[in-house]
């Protein structure tokens, strides 16, 4: 059967592959591009292990025919690390906080979390918002709490220093107020 040329940007680099048009993007990534970080769990869009970003939005690569990747910008889990291979803040948070356990769901969850971080740039998404964003990713190890904690920790870290300071400010004011109260209390004695 005739193959077609499919061209896309994959983790920042232009790629051109010749594949069958209905070949799953998941298989194109793993077989034709040799990027095996993207996993197959269920093969029917339930588990999210194969999640990639396509034009900035999370999608199940097991449900995307190669023909739909033509002209697209793709990011897989391999594209999340910093230049030189150092872990991104999001990846590091998963390691530090125990968000990655057996590891099969982790690439897909990282990619879904990445979409959330892109969407909520400049603020820390709430617990429910993180859970909603990750609703299409199943994990059988962690019970999800450590994953949610890791995503929120990464979002806090990604905030600009000024915004972080602004978040700290109310606490600083509260401390100053507490100091004044304590001083008054001492004077009263």
């Amino acid at each position: 059967m005739s193959r077609i040329a499919v061209t896309f940007t994959l983790n920042g680099a232009r790629r051109r592959v010749r594949v069958a048009p209905m070949k799953r993007l998941l298989d194109v990534l793993r077989e034709d591009c040799a990027l095996t970080g993207t996993k197959e769990g269920c093969g029917e869009g339930e588990c999210g292990a194969c999640t990639v970003l396509i034009d900035g939005r999370a999608a199940n690569s097991c449900l995307i025919p190669a023909v739909h990747a033509d002209g697209a910008t793709l990011v897989t889990v391999e594209g999340l690390a910093r230049r030189g291979g150092a872990l991104s803040a999001l990846q590091q948070a998963f390691v530090t906080m125990g968000g990655a356990q057996c590891g099969i769901c982790t690439p897909g969850i990282l990619v879904s979390a990445q979409e959330l971080l892109l969407r909520s740039r400049g603020r820390v998404p709430g617990d429910a918002e993180v859970r909603e964003a990750l609703a299409g990713n199943l994990c059988r190890c962690t019970g999800y709490q450590k994953i949610v904690d890791a995503v929120r920790a990464a979002a806090r870290e990604a905030m600009p220093a000024r915004a972080r300071a602004a978040r700290r400010a109310p606490k600083a004011r509260a401390t100053a107020k507490a100091r004044r109260t304590a001083k008054r209390a001492r004077r009263a004695r």
Partner: protein, 293 residues
């Protein structure tokens, strides 16, 4: 057995006119593909018939959300993410926005299209009960021309549409619900997200100046071979003032509207009970005087 995906051919029309010619002339009845989130499941499972596809994704004519003075027109390729993120649309049609937010996870919402959800004609579709309750009108085109079909008249039987195989859905038209009406959407599944429904219901209800129901739409999924309007329940409520008795009667009437079955997701009795419970929840949310005891 898996379909050998490498044997499948995909035509890539440049515009709608070319796509319609392919749908008319294609040997062996070509299958249109939009977001692919249902089609690829069937292909992966080896249950999809056909080996020729027409890719609709690049057709600009099927895209876009247009606001009119008394209605919205939503292109068939509009994704559920686009629906839930369109502030004006979501404000006008909260039941549809709620449905869009519960179609699978984000990964599905980012790809799955409203036209695809209708054309796929699953009795468990999440968006069609909301669209039915909102009196949606489906725009279809073939190489012979265009026509409109009330969504309510589109579903004939299990995965069976009153559309010809050479017709494509181009848009969904949504007239504004009456002023002061209340909208409702509830999906009951195994877990809160990412599940196929056991029961799904959408509703629109308004009380007139005289305090009686003067507009009511109730639509359900997963309780019959098609997603459907609950006409008997609607009739039992028309012209009635809110009361616990009215709620009870609507619930009884609803049992004549639905014909749920036992399957892997749920069983008949559970679906009947839950359909009644969700209907009462809808009515209570529309007016507290519907509450029982």
């Amino acid at each position: 057995m898996r379909t050998a995906l490498s044997t499948l051919a995909v035509a890539r029309p440049r515009d709608l006119a070319e796509a319609l010619v392919l749908m008319r002339d294609g040997a062996g009845r070509p299958i249109p593909i939009a977001g692919g989130t249902d089609l690829l499941v069937y292909l992966n499972a080896g249950t999809q018939k056909g080996d020729r596809f027409v890719d609709l994704r690049s057709l600009a004519e099927l895209r876009g959300i247009r606001a009119g003075t008394d209605r919205f027109t939503v292109g068939a390729l509009t994704t559920f993410s686009e629906i839930r993120e369109h502030a004006a649309l979501a404000r006008r049609f909260p039941a549809l926005a709620a449905a869009a937010a519960e179609v699978g996870g984000r990964q599905i919402q980012n790809r799955a299209t409203v036209g695809g959800n209708i054309a796929n004609a699953s009795p468990a579709a999440d968006s069609t009960p909301a669209l039915l309750a909102l009196d949606a009108i489906v725009h279809v085109r073939s190489s012979d021309g265009a026509r409109v079909i009330a969504l309510d008249r589109l579903f004939r039987g299990y995965r069976d549409l009153t559309m010809r195989p050479d017709e494509l859905i181009t848009a969904v038209e949504l007239p504004f619900a009456p002023e002061r009406s209340v909208q409702f959407f509830r999906k009951v599944g195994t877990r809160r997200a990412q599940s196929i429904s056991k029961v799904v219901m959408a509703g629109v209800l308004r009380l007139g100046r005289d305090g009686r129901v003067d507009h009511v739409r109730i639509a359900l999924g997963s309780v019959a071979p098609v997603t459907l309007r609950a006409r008997a329940a609607e009739a039992s409520l028309a012209g009635i003032a809110p009361s616990p008795v009215a709620s009870y009667r609507a619930r009884a009437a609803l049992m004549d509207d639905i014909a749920p079955i036992d399957d892997i997701r749920s069983d008949r009795e559970y679906r009947r009970a839950v359909s009644g419970n969700v209907l009462e929840q809808f009515l209570r949310s529309a007016d507290p005087r519907f509450a029982r005891g």
